[in-house]
C-alpha cells in the first residue's frame, strides 16, 4: 500500500519573492500562510503548555525536597542529545501501526522531548539555588512548606524559569517545520514544496517565514521576561544575571 500525500497547488516557478508574498491567495485559503501559521502556532503552544505543566511542578518539587540532584545532570546531558527528527521518524510508523495517524502524536511527542529538558533544568537550578536566607526567613515567619515553595522559591525563580521557557519555545518553533517532511503540514510546507517543485521562491520565502516565526517567538517571550514580570522579580533577574555573568 502506498500513502498518497495531499496534492500541492503548484506555484509558478518564475514568480518573484515579492510577487509571491503579495499575492492574496498565498496568504489566505487552505494551505495559505495564515492557516499554516495558525497550525504551527497551535501545535507549538500545546506542546509548550504540556511541557510547562509537567516540567515546572516536577522540577520545583524535586528541588524543594533536595531530591534527584542527579536528574539535573542527567537532563543536561540527554537534553542536548535528542535528535528530534529521528525521534519523530521513529514514532510515525509506530503511530500508524496503531491507528493514530501521521499527526499530531509523533511530532508532538518529539517536540515535547525537546522542550522538557531546558524547562526542567532552569526550574530545578533556580529553585535549588534560592537564597537560603530567604527560605530561613520565610520558615521563621511561620510559612508552611507549601508556602515556602510557592511564595518564596518559585516566586524568586520565576525570572529564570521564564528564560528556560523562552529557550525551549524558540527551539520548538524552530524545529516544528520538520513536521512538513513527516507527513504533516504547518509553516514548513513551503520549504518542502519548494524543494519538491524545485522552486527557489518557495524555498526562500518559506525559510523566511519559518525563521521569522522563531525570531518573533524569541523576541515576544524576551519582552515578557523583561517587562511582564513584577518589579521585584525583574530587579532580582538583573541581579541574577550580573551574578552569573550572563549577557543577554
Amino acid at each position: 500500500m502506498n500513502v498518497v500525500f495531499p496534492a500541492q497547488a503548484a506555484v509558478p516557478r518564475d514568480i518573484g519573492l515579492w510577487e509571491w508574498f503579495s499575492r492574496g491567495n498565498t496568504w489566505t485559503g487552505e494551505g495559505g500562510i495564515l492557516s499554516s501559521a495558525v497550525d504551527t502556532i497551535t501545535l507549538c503552544a500545546a506542546v509548550m503548555a504540556v511541557s510547562v505543566v509537567i516540567a515546572v511542578p516536577l522540577a520545583a518539587l524535586l528541588a524543594h525536597h533536595r531530591r534527584g540532584e542527579i536528574s539535573a545532570t542527567w537532563t543536561l546531558n540527554i537534553g542536548r542529545a535528542i535528535p528530534t527528527f529521528a525521534i519523530a521518524g521513529l514514532l510515525v510508523p509506530i503511530s500508524l501501526t496503531n491507528g493514530y495517524g501521521f499527526e499530531p502524536w509523533p511530532i508532538s511527542i518529539a517536540l515535547l522531548m525537546l522542550a522538557l529538558p531546558p524547562i526542567f533544568l532552569t526550574t530545578y537550578t533556580a529553585v535549588r539555588h534560592t537564597d537560603p536566607g530567604a527560605i530561613d526567613a520565610a520558615r521563621a515567619m511561620g510559612f508552611t512548606e507549601r508556602d515556602v515553595l510557592v511564595r518564596v522559591e518559585l516566586a524568586l525563580a520565576v525570572g529564570l524559569i521564564l528564560s528556560g521557557i523562552r529557550v525551549a519555545a524558540v527551539a520548538v518553533v524552530a524545529t516544528e517545520p520538520i513536521r512538513a517532511f513527516l507527513g504533516g503540514d504547518g509553516l514548513g510546507r513551503y520549504v518542502r514544496d519548494g524543494l519538491g517543485q524545485n522552486n527557489d521562491t518557495l524555498k526562500i520565502g518559506g525559510a523566511i517565514l519559518v525563521a521569522g516565526l522563531a525570531a518573533l517567538t524569541g523576541l515576544a517571550l524576551g519582552a515578557v521576561e523583561r517587562y511582564g514580570l513584577p518589579a521585584g522579580a525583574r530587579h532580582l533577574r538583573q541581579v541574577q544575571d550580573t551574578r552569573t555573568g550572563e549577557t543577554r
Binding site: 500500500m1 542529545a81 529521528a86 521518524g89 520538520i178 526562500i204
Partner: protein, 226 residues
C-alpha cells in the same frame, strides 16, 4: 486527486530480512552520516578557534561574536537549508555550511570559557618562568582549558549528528535518507533502522568523546577529587 492520509497501515514495523538485504546501503548511509558530522565539527572547530582567539585577544569583539553565533544557532535548520540550496544546489555544500554554522555557539563559548578559567596566577607564573607567549598558550593554558573544550566538542558533535538527519530533506542526510525513503514508500523498516541508528550514533560518539576527554586530561579528574 485523492489525497487521503491513512490513520492506520498494515505494514509491519520491522522486516528483519531488510537489514540483511540492504546492509551495504545502510552501511553507506551510516558512513555518510559520520563523514558529514566529522567534516562539519572539524571545520567548526577550526573556525571557532579562530573566532575565540579574536574574542580573547580583542575583548570588545567577544560580545558581537557570541551574539552572532547565538543568532545563527536559533535559525531553524529547515529555513537555513531552504535559503542555502538555491545558491549552492543540492549538494554537500549547503549541509556543511549550515551544520558548521550551528557548531559555532557551543564551540566558541566553550573555548572562551576554557581559556578564561585559567587562573591569572598560573599565567603569570608561566610568564615568570620565561615561557614565550606561544609556549604559554600551548603548554599551560590549552591543557587547563581542555576539559571545557572537550565538553564543547561533545555537545557540538551530538547536536550535529541530530541535525545531519534533518539534512536528508536536501538529500544529504545519511541515515535521514532512510527515514524519508521509508516514509515515501510506507515501508517502516528503513525508517526504524535510520532513526534507531542515528540515536545510537549520537550516544556512541558522546561516550567515545567522553572517554577520549578523560584519557587526555587525567589531571582534571584528580583535581575534582580534592
Amino acid at each position: 486527486m485523492i489525497s487521503l492520509l491513512p490513520l492506520q497501515t498494515s505494514e509491519p514495523l520491522i522486516r528483519w530480512n531488510y537489514i540483511g538485504d540492504q546492509w551495504d546501503d545502510i552501511q553507506r548511509k551510516l558512513i555518510d552520516h559520520i563523514e558529514l558530522t566529522l567534516i562539519s565539527v572539524a571545520l567548526g572547530l577550526i573556525l571557532s578557534t579562530t573566532l575565540a582567539a579574536i574574542a580573547l585577544r580583542y575583548h570588545w569583539t567577544s560580545g558581537p561574536i557570541t551574539t552572532i553565533s547565538a543568532v545563527i544557532y536559533t535559525i531553524p535548520s529547515v529555513a537555513l537549508f531552504g535559503i542555502l540550496v538555491p545558491y549552492t544546489g543540492l549538494s554537500k555544500t549547503p549541509a556543511v555550511i549550515a551544520l558548521t554554522g550551528y557548531t559555532f555557539l557551543v564551540l566558541v563559548t566553550a573555548i572562551i570559557s576554557g581559556f578564561r578559567s585559567v587562573p591569572r596566577a598560573v599565567r603569570e607564573a608561566a610568564d615568570g618562568m620565561g615561557l614565550s607567549a606561544r609556549r604559554r598558550v600551548m603548554s599551560v593554558e590549552l591543557p587547563l582549558a581542555l576539559p571545557y573544550i572537550m565538553t564543547g566538542i561533545r555537545v557540538a558533535t551530538v547536536t550535529t549528528v541530530g541535525l545531519v538527519t534533518v539534512a536528508s530533506i536536501i538529500g544529504q542526510g545519511g541515515l535521514g535518507d532512510l527515514i524519508l525513503d521509508g516514509l515515501r514508500r510506507t515501508y517502516w523498516t528503513p525508517m526504524i533502522v535510520g532513526a534507531v541508528l542515528s540515536v545510537a550514533l549520537a550516544l556512541v560518539l558522546d561516550l567515545g568523546l567522553w572517554l577520549l576527554g578523560r584519557a587526555i586530561t587525567p589531571w582534571a579528574r584528580r583535581a575534582r577529587v580534592r
